[in-house]
């Protein structure tokens, strides 16, 4: 057996093509012609290992290549755009923006002009309608005065009745305003003075009877009742004054 054969049999050195070319086996004897069988078998086994190792390495490398290729595919290298390209796109964008702005401005002018005209016509129509109605009222009043006075059982004229209605309306309004101010003032009082009060901080000494039953207890009870009441809203007629013009 030659030195080379021994070397790859004993050491970890991997089999090279040169090893295969230069391999020399021990010749046989007269009884067993040919190469030494043991050496040949050993060599073949060695070659088999080496081939298997190559196949495995190849597979590993193929996987590696695939992984890397995939990564490359995901991270497409982006070349930063050139200054010139940026400038050209910026110019194009500005042009587009200007067109849109012009269109919006045009639309703004047209709509506001149209709206102004519409509102002007509406205003004129309303004013002439108002004038007509006023004239009609005046005519009606003249005709009533000129003709037989319309009176009720007590002989009150229409004018007197109208005056009464106006007076009652004004009175009702005034009463509502008064009542509301009163109620608001009470609630403010309750909030600022009583809302903050800590019951523990109340004076232990009883208040004089006059104070208890008089000024304080009275309004507070009214306020409490008003607040508790189910219908806290002014009656329908008073409400009608607020939402005037619920014209049928």
């Amino acid at each position: 057996m030659t030195a080379e054969v021994q070397a790859y049999e004993t050491g970890d050195r991997r089999l090279t093509p040169a090893d295969v070319h230069s391999v020399r086996f021990t010749r046989g004897t007269m009884l067993r012609p040919g190469y030494n069988e043991v050496e040949v078998d050993r060599f073949l086994s060695r070659v088999g290992h080496e081939l298997a190792r190559h196949a495995q390495e190849k597979a590993e490398l193929r996987d590696r290549v695939q992984t890397l290729q995939k990564q490359l595919g995901e991270v497409t290298v982006i070349e930063p755009p050139s200054d010139q390209a940026v400038r050209i796109l910026a110019q194009a964008q500005l042009t587009a923006d200007n067109y849109v702005a012009e269109a919006e401005d045009f639309s703004r002018q047209i709509t506001s002009d149209a709206r102004a005209q519409y509102e002007e016509q509406l205003r004129q129509a309303r004013e002439s309608a108002g004038a007509i109605i006023q004239a009609a009222h005046e005519t009606a009043a003249k005709m009533t005065r000129g003709g037989t006075p319309i009176g009720d059982a007590d002989g009150a004229t229409l004018e007197q009745l109208q005056e009464q209605v106006a007076y009652l309306k004004a009175f009702g309004q005034a009463v509502r305003v008064q009542l509301r101010s009163y109620l608001e003032a009470l609630i403010t009082d309750v909030e600022s003075e009583w809302g903050r009060a800590d019951p523990g901080a109340l004076p232990a000494r009883p208040l004089p009877a006059a104070t208890r039953s008089g000024a304080q207890a009275g309004p507070l009870n009214v306020a409490a009742e008003l607040q508790r009441g189910d219908d806290r809203k002014p009656g329908p007629s008073a409400n009608g004054v607020e939402i005037q013009g619920t014209r049928g």
Binding site: I78, A85, V100, Q109, T111, R115, Q244
Partner: protein
């Protein structure tokens, strides 16, 4: 992080005005063309908003307590735009390129600091968006009623496909396919219903793309997209004081939702609602308000006109009418309407002795494109 250096660097980009965001978006769209579809055709308003938001972030970068909630809100809100985690690095790269482009003294240290800062911002936003993923990024809602109530005002009834929880008085943003990628805020005019139906009041702003389309083009069967609710005009549930509600124009919507809340959930109390408009025709929800007034004994509705001398309704600016009907010193007050109307009403009420901390207001512009960094949707 060298915060002063970063601020100095940002100031240079900010000083370039519109140029800087224009550069940023062009860079972004060229490097990531798929991001273009997340934005509207016209980028004019978008550019203003981007740098305003970035400016806020830079200003508060050393005050994380106030910055983090803003970023979380931004992150959650961006889900409706179709923003996903993968978009954040793309934006970061273009932001850095922009900051570099406008700074002659750009250096590696700045690049490193900005990368780290942006990563922080993106992480907070992405985390907040992920946390919100038990909710849909947006809600599809069908228009089931569409009524033109005035020449430029429509009342729409929407039915979201999946329930959308909100508080009465809050606003939701919405987008229509008629005007893609333009989101506007509107207040539901009712407390949440079991069937999810909500009423919104839209006033077409002259030249306003979304509001005009909603009033004049949208119709029954159209599907809108709704974003998550926000806003602050919610009823103080810790108080059972009587209420004074004052509304001008479509500012009626959030205030009407508060009336609905009292009607449905109580506690019952006296509610005075004042609604102002220029003319009678513009009191677009009058029939329903009068119905509510009849149905609820605790509610009094007063309608006022400021420019309609033949009308039998109360005459004058609504703030003036409110003052004439006062005093209101014991009330909780909610005011919603245009800026001047809100200012006038509040000034009169405070002048008549109402503690300012009992007044809650919402300036209700006809078109409200986006919340500011504090989540307010007023303009």
């Amino acid at each position: 992080m060298d915060i002063p250096a970063m601020r100095a660097n940002f100031a240079k980009a900010a000083a370039a005005g519109d140029e800087a965001p224009l550069w940023f978006y062009s860079h972004l769209f060229l490097s990531h063309p798929e991001t273009r579809q997340l934005f509207p055709v016209s980028m004019a308003h978008q550019r203003d908003r981007l740098f305003a938001a970035l400016g806020e972030v830079v200003a508060r970068v050393d005050d994380l307590d106030s910055l983090v909630p803003i970023l979380q809100q931004l992150g959650r809100d961006h889900r409706k735009f179709g923003t996903v985690a993968a978009h954040y690095p793309a934006v970061g790269a273009s932001l850095l390129a922009t900051l570099e482009h406008f700074d002659d003294e750009w250096n590696a240290a700045l690049a490193q600091d900005w990368t780290a800062a942006y990563q922080l911002v993106a992480d907070v936003m992405i985390a907040a968006a992920d946390e919100a993923d038990d909710e849909p990024p947006w809600w599809n809602a069908e228009i089931i009623e569409h009524e033109r109530r005035a020449i430029d005002i429509a009342v729409l009834t929407l039915r979201p496909e999946t329930p959308l929880a909100y508080l009465p008085g809050q606003s939701v943003s919405l987008e229509t396919d008629l005007r893609p990628r333009l989101w506007r805020y509107y207040s539901p005019a009712n407390a949440p219903r079991e069937d999810g139906r909500m009423e919104i009041h839209v006033q077409a702003q002259d030249g306003g793309p979304v509001s005009s389309a909603l009033v004049r083009q949208a119709g029954i069967g159209d599907v809108l997209r709704l974003g998550p609710p926000l806003g602050h005009l919610a009823l103080d549930t810790g108080s059972d004081r009587d209420l004074l509600l004052v509304a001008g124009g479509t500012g009626l919507a959030p205030v009407k939702a508060l009336v609905d809340q009292v009607a449905r959930y109580g506690p019952e109390r006296r509610v005075d609602l004042f609604v102002g408009a220029r003319t009678e025709e513009r009191l677009y929800d009058r029939a329903d308000l009068e119905r509510l007034d009849k149905e609820h004994p605790w509610l009094t509705v007063t309608l006022a006109v400021s420019d309609d001398k033949y009308s039998p309704l109360e005459q004058g600016d609504v703030g003036d009418v409110v003052q004439r009907h006062g005093p209101w010193r014991s009330r909780d007050v909610y005011v919603a309407g245009t800026g001047p109307m809100v200012d006038d009403t509040v000034a009169r009420l405070v002048g008549s002795g109402l503690p300012p901390d009992r007044i809650r207001t919402e300036v209700f512009a006809p078109s409200r494109p986006s919340p500011d960094v504090d989540g307010e949707v007023t303009e």
